[in-house]
């Protein structure tokens, strides 16, 4: 089949699955997950075919697979929408397809398919477990199936559709549509267990926070459309005249001396800030952990946050438009500052979190900051590379953490002691209980902290650092290096607390390995977490450099108009990344292998002192926003709007008006209404009656006579008009 046809078909299965499950199969859990996973599999299959064809095509960058049609008639032109496969899309599609399929499969196990119904499970609450009487008459408490199993698959189906649409679309309209579909789905999925107060709060928070970013993004899109008259990537990003024009014209109002390109870029970047949780809009991401773990993985690793970065990478030509050698455009400066800061800042917070998923959430924020910073300093390929490797190992880590939690929950149910199955302090020693989870998690964690040479994370991070050094952005380099150090540290902390040492609770002792539907995705993703890095090894790397050609750079670089040159090799960044990775890991191990019991205080506390509390409370950002935005808004609405404005002014006016009107009304009634109006009305009625009697004979009830009358009158009038309009002219 022609690739142009195939890429359209990629979108169909997830959407179809959504409707099928919602409309028909939602009664049967088995059917629902068959439909859901089947749809994911079909899309995955198609994506792999497309990817294969893409990589085997010469000069895909110049001649991508594109197919579009005129959709919306805007005046005499058409707003054309369509799909596009260029190298960037191809690689993105690759990891999106893999992670989505893995996550679908994982959800089957995570929601305890095949387990009995819970004793007192209610829709909207996580399953509490069911008691079973076994053959010997002992009653066990075993995990119970998710009450809204089918609904979950419907949601993630729609979510997958949104992501595919966003990745494949060749214009901002459909990209934004996919973007918003995912926003909606993340809202629905974060609040999937809507029975929990915190989940409800988190879903609203996530929705509103991202909405702020989307608002700016919409502004950017509108500006872009009004400026260029098109929203297609090929027309804007791949013709140099348009870019130069955008770069040369000053922005509306010319504030900050921005160029149009710069302003649009920054506006679009705000969308990304919201979507991929960059500082200052990062607050929603940790709370999004209220959702089921596959959702966290979906949102954080595979799809939504990556989507933000993907959009910025996609618009890199616009952002970098008008960049001379060396010095960055304003937009890029903004990117690098925000990115680098976020990277460091989130990493510091991650140090002090105890919830296994929250740690990962903050590390996600910081890694995304990495990519943004990389883009900011113009390391296009490096950013894309890190996007992909990160997607794989972060999905792996999230699913792994989910598996850990699942195992812990099993233990909790088994022992019946009430401990938080997500708190790392309650774990420990899980490597014996859950070997597969442990090894895969270890691989993921090492990839995240950039363990040298073998892991994917090392290559991508090293490339970013090398770029930063090579182009002489030493501040960014320093900040990122520090962030990398912290990353390695907290990753090792997490691994140590979770898996190493001895079990610190009975629940941890009775934790149990999860079913194959969960471990299989872990294993597959672990493979990618290692090998994904080998496609991007720089040629001049000592020893192994050039064994495998730096295919990634060649391929993805082809997306841009002029092929970006890989920076020549330099030992300083390499040494730096080696030092930070290994040093961080070693430090994490030495510090946290000392934690023996649940009550042990975090060894960092004495070191950092008060600052640790600050970190633990995420720099009090939630409280800050509470104080700055929410409280004033509430106060304004309560005091000003409601009390003063409504009650006093408006009500007062109303009452006054009402009283006045009553007076006037009675006067009118007495002196005007009764004599004049009524009299007139009666007259009208009478005359109408008379007229009716007059006209009565015309209405014979014979349709043909009516028609004759109508035609005669039409003829007369047309003749009249003809005379007036044509002859007397």
């Amino acid at each position: 089949m022609a690739t142009e046809t195939l890429i359209w078909l990629l979108l169909v299965p997830p959407l179809l699955a959504f409707f099928l499950i919602v409309l028909f199969t939602n009664r049967s859990n088995r059917l629902s997950h068959i439909v859901g996973v089947g749809a994911a599999f079909l899309s995955w299959l198609g994506s792999m075919v497309v990817f294969y064809r893409a990589v085997t095509t010469e000069h895909l960058g110049e001649h991508p697979f594109a197919s579009s049609f005129n959709w919306l008639a805007t005046g005499d032109t058409y707003l054309s929408i369509g799909l596009l496969i260029d190298p960037l899309t191809a690689v993105t599609l690759f990891f999106v397809a893999w992670t989505i399929l893995m996550i679908f499969l994982y959800s089957v196990g995570y929601h305890n398919f095949g387990q009995p119904k819970g004793d007192h499970d209610r829709p909207g609450l996580p399953p509490h477990g069911a008691t079973m009487i076994d053959a010997h008459g002992h009653s066990h408490t075993v995990p119970s199936i998710e009450p809204m199993y089918a609904r979950f698959f419907a949601f993630i189906g729609l979510f997958a559709f949104g992501m595919y649409l966003l990745v494949l679309s060749d214009n901002l309209v459909t990209l934004f549509v996919g973007w918003e579909i995912m926003g909606l789905c993340s809202y629905l999925l974060i609040g999937f267990w809507y029975g929990k107060e915190s989940a409800r709060a988190a879903m609203v928070k996530a929705f509103l926070t991202t909405r702020i970013g989307d608002m700016f993004m919409l502004l950017g899109i509108a500006y872009l459309y009004s400026f260029t008259g098109t929203l297609s990537f090929r027309d804007i990003l791949y013709n140099q005249e348009m870019l130069n024009l955008l770069a040369s014209t000053p922005a509306v109002g010319g504030f900050l001396g921005l160029s149009a390109a710069g302003l649009i870029g920054i506006l679009l970047f705000f969308g990304t800030v919201g979507k991929s949780a960059q500082f200052p809009l990062h607050v929603w991401l940790p709370d999004a952990m209220e959702g089921p773990t596959p959702v966290s993985a979906m949102i954080h690793a595979a799809t939504m946050v990556s989507a933000g970065v993907y959009m910025v990478i996609r618009f890199f030509p616009l952002l970098s438009a008008g960049m001379e050698h060396g010095h960055l455009t304003t937009a890029m400066t903004v990117l690098s500052v925000v990115g680098a800061f976020t990277a460091l800042f989130a990493a510091t917070i991650a140090l002090a979190q105890n919830d296994i998923k929250r740690v990962l959430a903050y590390s996600t924020i910081s890694q995304l900051g990495y990519m943004i910073a990389a883009l900011g300093i113009g390391a296009y390929v490096a950013a894309a590379f890190h996007l992909i490797t990160h997607a794989f190992f972060k999905a792996l880590l999230f699913l792994g953490s989910g598996s850990v939690i699942h195992g812990m929950e099993h233990g909790v149910l088994h022992t019946g002691e009430h401990v938080d199955p997500q708190d790392m302090y309650n774990m420990g020693g899980l490597r014996k209980k859950m070997p597969i989870t442990f090894w895969t998690f270890l691989i993921g964690g090492f990839a995240l902290s950039g363990f040298p040479l073998v892991t994917a994370g090392f290559w991508s991070k090293d490339e970013i650092l090398a770029d930063a050094w090579g182009h002489g952005h030493y501040i960014v380099f320093g900040v990122l290096a520090l962030a990398a150090l912290l990353t390695a540290f907290y990753t090792m902390r997490q691994i140590t607390l979770t898996f190493l040492g001895e079990p610190r609770t009975k629940a941890a002792e009775h934790a149990q390995e999860t079913p194959w539907t969960m471990t299989l995705p872990l294993s597959i993703l672990a493979v990618f977490a290692v090998v994904a890095g080998w496609v991007g090894i720089p040629e001049h790397f000592p020893g192994i450099g050039g064994l495998i050609p730096n295919w990634f750079n060649e391929f993805v670089g082809g997306t841009l108009l002029e092929h970006p040159v890989a920076v020549d090799f330099n030992f300083i960044p390499l040494l730096t990344s080696l030092v930070v990775a290994l040093g961080g890991l070693w430090a994490g191990w030495t510090v946290y292998s000392r934690v023996k019991t649940v009550e042990t205080v975090d060894p960092l506390k004495p070191v950092l002192g008060g600052f640790h509390t600050v970190l633990k409370n995420k720099y009090y950002f939630d409280e800050l926003y509470e104080k700055i935005f929410i409280r004033p808004a509430q106060w304004l609405s309560a005091t000003f709007a409601s009390l003063w404005m409504d009650r006093t002014v408006i009500d007062g006016i109303l009452h006054g008006v009402a009283a006045f009107t009553l007076q006037v009304g009675s006067a009118l009634l007495r002196y005007f209404d009764t004599p004049v109006v009524n009299g007139f009305g009666n007259q009208v009625g009478e005359s109408a009656k008379k007229l009716g009697h007059l006209l009565r004979p015309i209405q014979t009830g014979r349709i043909q006579q009516y028609m004759i009358l109508a035609l005669v009158s039409v003829a007369t009038f047309s003749a009249l008009f003809y005379y007036l309009l044509v002859y007397t002219r």
Binding site: Q699, T700, G701, R702, I703, Q704, M707, I708, L711
Partner: protein, 102 residues
């Protein structure tokens, strides 16, 4: 070589014939037949204009097709109406279907 005017005049004549049928026939079904004639004359006009004025675009024929569809629908519903009227009032003479009089 037929001039366009012939088609137009023919269509006009047919249209007026149909109109007369609509205005003057007693039986409702005959009125429907008159309407059919009018629709057909319109179609002839459409196709003739297509052929003579814009032969490169197919618009005229498309319109004619749509008119076919409309005519079919109209006949189906109209005849169904007449049949049910006949069942209730035992007549299809237009003048006797005058409940709405006065």
């Amino acid at each position: 070589m037929i001039p366009l005017s012939w088609y137009l005049i023919f269509a006009a004549a047919l249209f007026c014939t149909g109109l007369f049928g609509v205005l003057a026939r007693k039986n409702s079904i005959a009125i429907l037949m008159g309407i059919e004639l009018m629709l057909n004359s319109v179609n002839v006009n459409l196709v003739a204009f297509w052929r003579y004025r814009t032969p490169e675009t197919i618009t005229g024929q498309v319109f004619a097709i749509i008119v076919f569809a409309v005519a079919a629908a109209e006949v189906a519903v109209g005849l169904a109406l007449f049949i049910s009227i006949y069942r209730r009032r035992n007549t299809v003479v237009a003048d006797e279907i005058n409940l709405l009089k006065w």
